[in-house]
């Protein structure tokens, strides 16, 4: 069970070389395409049911029933929603900057998928085990900002523009404590490779050694994902839908897809950095990965459906006056701690 996917992949590649007589380079290329397809399917299927899960869980937190009409327990609700969205007309506002408007909805999805290249889905199940895996994740995830700015600017609508600007301001500032909180983990591991970080947690999870960093990571991650209580970029009551105001149909669905895809990626990163990665007793690692990711997603949703949205100035104050000094202090304490630990070891 543990090596189910690895063995299947290796077997398929072996069969393509010996059975079909392809050269090993082509077989390798085809395997990469298959991996991308599998990751895409994983993301899309999860997003489909995350929307359902969010609606259902939010209903439970508010003592409602949630969707329960379409299919058994409402399970087909989101599937039919997607079919509806696909069948809708593709509306581009007349005053919009057409190229930027159209490009934004595509660009927003690209980093959302690229993030999955470095995520450890299981033991030895990282698509590309980069030696700068964490850095790659941070770099790619920050480019999502550009798509929101493009959408806000290209829509030629005041609400879109305000939403886009807010999302840029929020994402750029919260990136700093996010990165600093990860730095604590990297200092402990001495490597930015995902597999090294996961391996370093075989004895004790980093959430135990770096609880403050995890807290900062969680808060900044919530802000990066623009989820409540930090959902100012799309605050419905004031900005209609922020940068996505003018989008409808499939283009809007792609924004939605990217949002939930980022949620999975952020949860997966939290699992890899703080919760011991895809490792656990009795069950195969990829099952533990899914369980841990869904626990993280549950917590993200729990927070979203508990707290009200905070004000924009409080948002900035939380970041610059609380999270940033705290994360710097955490780095200092971690550094001192490592030195003291090294003393005692010698």
């Amino acid at each position: 069970m543990e090596k189910l996917f690895l063995n299947a992949g290796a077997g398929l590649e072996q069969w393509m070389v010996s059975g079909l007589g392809l050269s090993s380079i082509i077989a390798n290329l085809i395997m990469v395409v298959i991996q991308v397809a599998i990751i895409l399917t994983f993301v899309l299927l999860n997003v489909l049911y995350l929307v359902y899960l969010e609606r259902k869980l939010s209903a439970y937190w508010q003592q409602r029933l949630g969707p329960n009409r379409v299919g058994p327990r409402g399970l087909l609700q989101t599937t039919l929603d997607v079919i509806k969205l696909i069948s809708k007309e593709d509306i581009v506002p007349q005053a919009a900057d057409r190229k930027v408007f159209k490009l934004a909805s595509i660009i927003v999805f690209i980093p959302a998928v690229m993030l999955y290249a470095v995520i450890p889905f299981g033991k030895d199940m990282i698509a590309v085990d980069l030696n700068i895996g964490v850095f790659y994740f941070i770099a790619i995830s920050s480019t999502t900002t550009i798509a929101f700015l493009m959408a806000g600017w290209g829509s030629n609508n005041k609400y879109s523009l305000i939403g886009g600007m807010r999302s840029v301001a929020q994402m750029v500032s919260y990136e700093i404590p996010l990165v600093f909180s990860i730095l604590g983990v990297i200092m402990l591991t001495g490597s930015m490779r995902m597999s090294d970080i996961v391996a370093a947690q075989s004895d004790v999870w980093f959430i135990v050694l770096q609880p403050v960093a995890f807290l900062i990571f969680f808060i900044a991650g919530t802000a990066e994902l623009s989820r409540a209580p930090f959902d100012l970029p799309e605050g419905e009551q004031e900005l209609v839908a922020g940068a996505t105001t003018e989008y409808s149909g499939m283009r809007w669905a792609i924004f939605f897809l990217a949002e939930y895809s980022n949620l999975i990626a952020m949860s997966a990163l939290a699992v890899a950095l703080f919760l011991g990665g895809p490792a656990g007793p009795w069950a195969p690692s990829w099952i533990w990965f899914v369980i841990k990711v869904y626990i993280m997603i549950y917590v993200f949703m729990w927070v979203r459906w508990t707290f009200p949205r905070i004000r924009i100035d409080h948002l900035m104050h939380t970041n610059w006056k609380f999270l940033l000094p705290l994360s710097l202090a955490n780095i200092l304490v971690t550094g001192v701690g490592i030195k003291i630990y090294q003393w005692f070891i010698q």
Binding site: L57, A59, Q62, Q63, L65
Partner: protein, 141 residues
């Protein structure tokens, strides 16, 4: 302590998460109504003495009563009509009835397609009517 409220809030939602949903799935599940619920009306024509107080007390002139004097010189009910479309369900008729003849029911599904369907006749015609002309009592004094 800083953040105590946040933890408390999370605790409340977590408790609610396992609580029973308060949603009523209305057409399949009928609501549990109180005994005092102001729904439609029911008339007990055995009890009704056709005094017309209900019609007089109604602020919107909803009730229209027809009554006649029988051979025993007793007033009796010939017809009891309500224009529910005008009714504001204040319950003054129910309160003012001296014999407790008119009462609310639990039936609240009063929506209908045409204006004429909003009229409600509460009088069940019994045998042995005599042909004396009825005298109509309405509100609007």
């Amino acid at each position: 302590m800083y953040g105590k409220g946040l933890v408390k809030g999370l605790g409340i939602t977590f408790k609610h998460f396992f609580g029973k949903a308060i949603t009523e799935q209305y057409p399949e599940e009928m609501p549990n109504l109180s005994n005092n619920f102001h729904g439609s009306f029911a008339l007990d024509d055995e009890k009704c003495i056709a005094c017309g107080i209900c019609a007089k007390t109604c602020p919107n002139n909803v009730i229209e009563i027809a009554s006649s004097k029988g051979e025993d010189k007793k007033r009796r009910l010939d017809d009891y009509n309500m224009d529910i479309g005008l009714c504001l369900f204040c319950g003054l008729c129910v309160e003012s009835c001296p014999t407790d003849a008119i009462n609310f029911t639990q039936d609240f599904e009063l929506a209908c397609y045409a204006r004429k369907d909003t009229f409600l006749n509460l009088f069940k015609r019994t045998e042995g009517q005599d042909s004396q002309p009825s005298e109509v009592t309405e509100g609007g004094n």
